[in-house]
């Protein structure tokens, strides 16, 4: 598929993009997280698109998934309103504080710490320790 973005033309490989996006959507709606960290590499590496095309468009694509996932979870009775009302202000507060702190930190170090944290969490989920 050819797309035009700010006067430049790109070829988007949908043979990778569509199955990839579909799979990411299944997994992310199944576990209830946003698919951003997977969609961006998919579009950058798999579809060979430059970052400035990806940032906005990936968000739009993920929004479809979040919206559908939300409705479906609601339909299955997995949505707890009170729990949501407690967490939602927390999420907004975090979304507000995050960028403020981010400016003061070295992103590479933050990412490496996050890597370690994610690995520990993963091993705990897998029952390794």
């Amino acid at each position: 598929m050819r797309i035009e973005f700010w006067g430049q033309e790109f070829k988007a490989n949908l043979f990778i993009g569509i199955p990839g996006a579909f799979l990411i959507a299944v997994v992310s709606s199944m576990f209830g997280f946003g698919g951003g960290p997977f969609m961006v590499p998919l579009m950058a590496v798999g579809m060979r698109l430059p970052m400035y095309v990806i940032v906005g468009s990936s968000l739009l694509a993920i929004f479809f998934n979040t919206l559908m996932g939300t409705f479906r979870h609601y339909g299955f009775g997995n949505f707890d309103l009170i729990f949501f009302l407690i967490m939602f202000p927390g999420a907004i507060l975090g979304g507000y504080l995050g960028p403020k702190i981010a400016k003061k930190l070295n992103p590479v170090i933050v990412k490496r710490v996050a890597c370690l944290g994610l690995l520990i969490l993963a091993l705990q989920l897998l029952g390794v320790f």
Binding site: I18, M51, Y52, V55, F63, T66, F76, N78, M87, G94
Partner: protein, 414 residues
């Protein structure tokens, strides 16, 4: 900025308001069992040391039953939760997998079957089996088959599902209701699916003296649901005491999460979400990756965690899209094409959440996190950083242009 703060305050007030309204109405619900007449000849007398609890606590149960008989005590809450299980174990005779999905919305939020002390070893034995323990095995071995009462009668729906039906997101064809015996058998499996461990369903602290007097205790955890709790002592199917009622009250800042089936202090999910979202922003991934496993490990049902965390990002995604679209920085063609693929995926995913067990959820999530960690590590390699630096510079340049264009357009519009 001011508007944002205003919005935040309104939101907080709204949430607090709705929480208090809920906790008021929920205590008014009434759903008690009509007491049954026992024959006066051999009666069981039972009493509890207190009828009121506040935020959980210990109840001492004492009483007297005919001498020489085994006594069992059932305790359950009036508040109910959902329990579900997909039966995909191969049939031992035919080897075929049944793929029947069992679901109930009437599982008590709290259930405890207290066995006489002498059966302690049976519980230990089952605990030693790890994840393979079985409710029915304990009930059979401890002679509790006739007294296992309340959960046996809950309404369980079952659906014949197929791989294809799961894929298109249907629960499958609803089957005829089960007979009493089958319902009882399935209720035991659902008990395990809901309560996970032996200790959450059974205890064996019931002391019986020679003259038939007995004493036991049950501990309602701090996170137990508010409302009525019923206590019944039984010797067999017909010989049982009238249900005693213990009221458990909770007060703000503790609130009851009806779908998750537990009481929490509002403060900790709020702080946890705020802290993890902040960290999520720093590492460039949503907070859900960390928040969900933690909530699941804290004991919330994985279905409710997935279904409730997901909508929290709708708002931030919406603002992001608005900001990008304002400066015309979204390729609609690309976003919608991939969006449709994701729409289909988002239709299927939540169905799978319901079908998988907690163990499968943890296992798969573990691997997802390992992949994510690998991706993030790759993003800190020097080669990637160098490439990213260039890309970010181009991104900035294009964004600047787009912002200027949008500004011009806005000014031209005036």
């Amino acid at each position: 900025m001011k508007n944002f703060l205003k919005f935040l305050t309104v939101l907080m007030i709204l949430s607090v308001f709705s929480v208090t309204v809920y906790s008021q109405t929920s205590t008014e619900k009434k759903d008690s069992e009509p007491p049954k007449e026992a024959s006066p000849a051999d009666k069981i007398i039972v009493q509890v040391d207190k009828n009121q609890l506040s935020g959980g606590g210990k109840i001492i149960i004492t009483g007297k039953a005919p001498a020489g008989r085994d006594v069992y005590i059932e305790v359950w809450s009036e508040k109910t939760v959902r329990a579900a299980r997909l039966d995909a174990d191969p049939d031992p005779k035919t080897g075929k997998r049944p793929y029947i999905f069992y679901m109930t919305d009437e599982m008590p939020g709290f259930y405890r079957l207290i066995l006489p002390e002498k059966y302690k070893s049976i519980l230990e034995e089952e605990k030693a089996k790890g994840k393979k323990w079985s409710v029915s095995e304990i009930i059979k071995k401890s002679g509790a088959d006739a007294v296992y009462g309340y959960p046996a009668k809950i309404k369980i729906d079952r659906y014949q599902t197929t791989l294809w039906e799961s894929i298109i997101g249907s629960r499958g064809t609803k089957l005829e209701p089960m007979d009493e015996k089958e319902n009882k058998r399935r209720s035991m499996q659902l008990l395990k699916a809901r309560f996970r461990t032996v200790g959450n369903v059974f205890s064996s602290n019931l002391k019986i003296e020679e003259d038939g007097t007995f004493k036991a205790s049950v501990e309602l955890p701090e996170n137990a649901a508010p409302g009525k709790y019923f206590v019944v002592a039984k010797v067999d199917k017909d010989l049982k005491s009238e249900p005693l009622v213990v009221q458990n009250d909770i007060s703000f800042p503790s609130v009851y999460l009806p779908n998750a089936g537990r009481t929490v202090n509002v403060l900790w999910p709020f702080l946890l979400t705020a802290a993890i979202t902040t960290f999520g922003v720093l590492m460039g991934a949503g907070g859900g990756f960390i928040l969900n496993p933690i909530l699941v490990m804290l004991g919330l049902p994985h279905t409710v965690v997935a279904g409730t965390v997901m909508p929290t990002v709708l708002f931030s995604q919406g603002t992001g899209i608005y900001n990008y679209s304002r400066i015309n920085f979204i390729s609609l063609k690309l976003g919608i094409t991939l969006g449709i693929a994701m729409l289909v995926g988002g239709f299927i995913g939540p169905k799978l959440t319901e079908l998988i067990t907690l163990e499968q959820y943890k296992f798969l999530f573990g691997w997802v996190l390992i992949i994510l960690a690998a991706l993030m590590f790759w993003q800190t390699t020097p080669k990637y950083l160098e490439k990213n630096k260039k890309e970010q510079a181009i991104l900035k340049e294009f964004k600047k242009r787009a912002e200027e264009a949008a500004k011009k357009k806005a000014e031209g519009g005036k």
